[in-house]
Amino acid sequence: MNTPNEHATKSASMLSKDNLLLLVLKLRTFIALFLIVGFFTAMVPGFLEPSSLIIMVKHIAINAFLALGITFVIITAGIDLSIGAILGFCGMVAGWLITKGIVLPMLGIAIFPSIWLVVPMVLVIGGLIGAVNGFLITRYNVAPFICTLGTMYVVRGAAMLLSGGETFTGLSGNPQLGNTGFEEIGSGKLLGLPYAIWMMFVLAAVIAYIAKKTQFGRHVFAIGDNEHSAELSGVKVNKVKVWVYTISGLCAALAGIVVSSQLVASHPATGIAFEMNAIAAVVLGGTSLAGGRGSITGTLIGAFVIGILADGLVMMGVSEFWQMVVKGVVIIVAVIIDQKQNRLQHKAAIVKQT
């Protein structure tokens, strides 16, 4: 029999070609990162100097905190638009606690908590705002987009109200009050690298571990893939969702602390539109907005692509307006490639199966 053999070899060769393409597509964010780095190395003198690299990665870290936090939300097919506002608000809360303290009018005193208390308090507040999002979404069945759009405005407004729109300056604290050291978070270094960069990698490792190795991580993916099935399989859908938004809020609070510490000041308008950059990083990293599919490493690489692109273009002297255009094009191309990859992957799976 000649034909079946021929057919088999033909489909095998097609398969290997498809597989190669699939591999390229799967590694696309990596490849894009290399291309971008290569491009800027060629175009910008001194692009790979350690000092400029460290500055770039420091910028990336802020976006990475937000992007890592929101990845779980997006994997459950949700969205969180409030993270930029939570970042700003939490920075303001930190500023308030350091400069004004907790005022107790009935006793006529103000308590100035130490930095070791300020940071956990701010993180808890960020987590609580996230939990409120999750609660509204699950309990009252509000669409995540609308719910977090609402909390975005509320939280941003609250940040403005904290200071009447003013900036809290002088966050280094007062030695007499024992609340110094806040700026260490932003300026301190370990083995020559700023804390923010270490924090980014640690956070990525923790989130990746949760995603891959824990029951919670599996449940997150299951909810995004098919919520009905998840319910029937005994996943506590609402509980998991509340946690997912809590993590997102927590990460935004962390970003808020780092930003205000780096600036040694907190301004209520910090973080406007940061959520968009975070979403872009997640999507670039191959996480599907439709849910059920995504990776934490992908998100981290996505944040690097966006960050390097932005800083590289600045160093090249490209106008801010063109930077926006380039970023937009990159995001759209990434999503088109993602669709292509899905189709190919499905096809490859079927071929492999039969």
Binding site: H219, H228, S229, G234, Q353
Partner: protein, 506 residues
Amino acid sequence: MADAQTDIVMRAEGISMIYPGTVALNAVDYRVHRGKVNVIIGENGAGKSTLMKILAGVQQPSSGRIFLNEAPVTFSSTRDAASHGVGMVHQELNLFGNLSVAENIFLGREKQRGLMPLDTTEQHRITRELMARLNQAIEPSELLANLKVGQQQLIEIAKALADQADVLILDEPTSALSKTEVELLFEVIRDLTAQGVSIIYISHRLEELMAIGDHITILRDGNLQSEALIKDIDVPWIVREMLGNDPVSDFLPAERTFGDPVLEVRDLTLVSPTGLTLVDDVSFDVKAGEIVGIYGLMGAGRTELMECLLGLQRYVGDITLSGTAVNEATSTSERIQRGMCLVPEDRKKNGIFPVSSVSNNMTISSLWRRLKHRFTIDETAEAQAVETAIKGLSIKVSSPEIEIRALSGGNQQKVVIGRTLLTDPKMLLLDEPTRGIDIGAKGDVFNMMVSLSQKGIGVLFSTSDLKEIMAVSDRILVMSGGKLTANVSRHDATESALVSASAQGL
């Protein structure tokens, strides 16, 4: 009206429909009598739906010819069939709740020219005429969502009539209707036949067919089995013709021993938010090692009963699992951990996680059983469990890491079954486990049910296929309109008794 006067409005000659691997229809001749209710019946997979889809232009036959008023016709689409006066009302309503009655009826063929606005006056006039024909006082501007299900069904009929339908195909029109709504529908059908419209009526409810039908056609395994006048026949005859006399294949070994009851259900009642009683005061037991089948038609409450058992619905009643009470507030995940597990009916909607791997699909319900330090998933144990399950259920899969949507329906179903088995259930619930899977996989599923029961697991499964229920149940429950209408051991069960129990109270 004498029989000699009735003539044939539509005729199909030698219709065959061949799908890769199966013959859905084998040279079927079919006649539709003018101005009569032509009933067509057959088991699932007998070919009724395929035949109707061909007559309504949804599908084109592999071979055969269709005559309308003795003139040969071919329908390339439903629109084409409609222009010849053949309309079909599908089982699921295709209506839009946010549009008015008139807008629903004229959807896709609005009275409008060029850039002129919609001619609402004309649409409403025609709608009012149609409503008069159906004897309904429904305002054309009424929002569809405000109508009862029965009225919505009539709007579907009105849609077909708006196309000047001469032949009207009704596919299980009563499956979602209450008793009074069925009466209303029957009145409308009688009116329409008096107006000269010919009706083709598909239903599984035999009592209904006897009440409304004039002519009956029975299909079996893609062949025309028999034709008769309803007044000449009775229910047992229909069952005989439908099922044939082939011996029912038996998956159960001769000697079966059961243990103590695993599942005890007492006075279980579920009322829907709209006030319908979906499960009505149901009580039964399932013993360890026993396979209990629930037979019933669509909408009999089987799925709802299973959902109550798993805690997905807010029910009233007592459920006891292996001697300990499960109260209403016990969450689904806790019920699963205590040994109750469900294989849902709609695999696509409620069963699989399409873009997740086979392995993840399989272990999602039982992750809690394989944790290191109560936190981390033990991946070695997981891989082992998946491998054992794949072997044990003979799932054809090249690698457990493959996405489940690449698998065939039967293999997907086995993965879902594997998921429930990995939770180490004491009580396994399977809702229509053989829906949409091929015959080989069906056999595998049945054999698996039997071997599980021999390990002492209680099995409760539902089906609307009589042969299946006879093949694997130790005991048979029949549900009808939410009530339990029969609870018999298999040896005492007869097919016609089950069929009439499934139509009780309808």
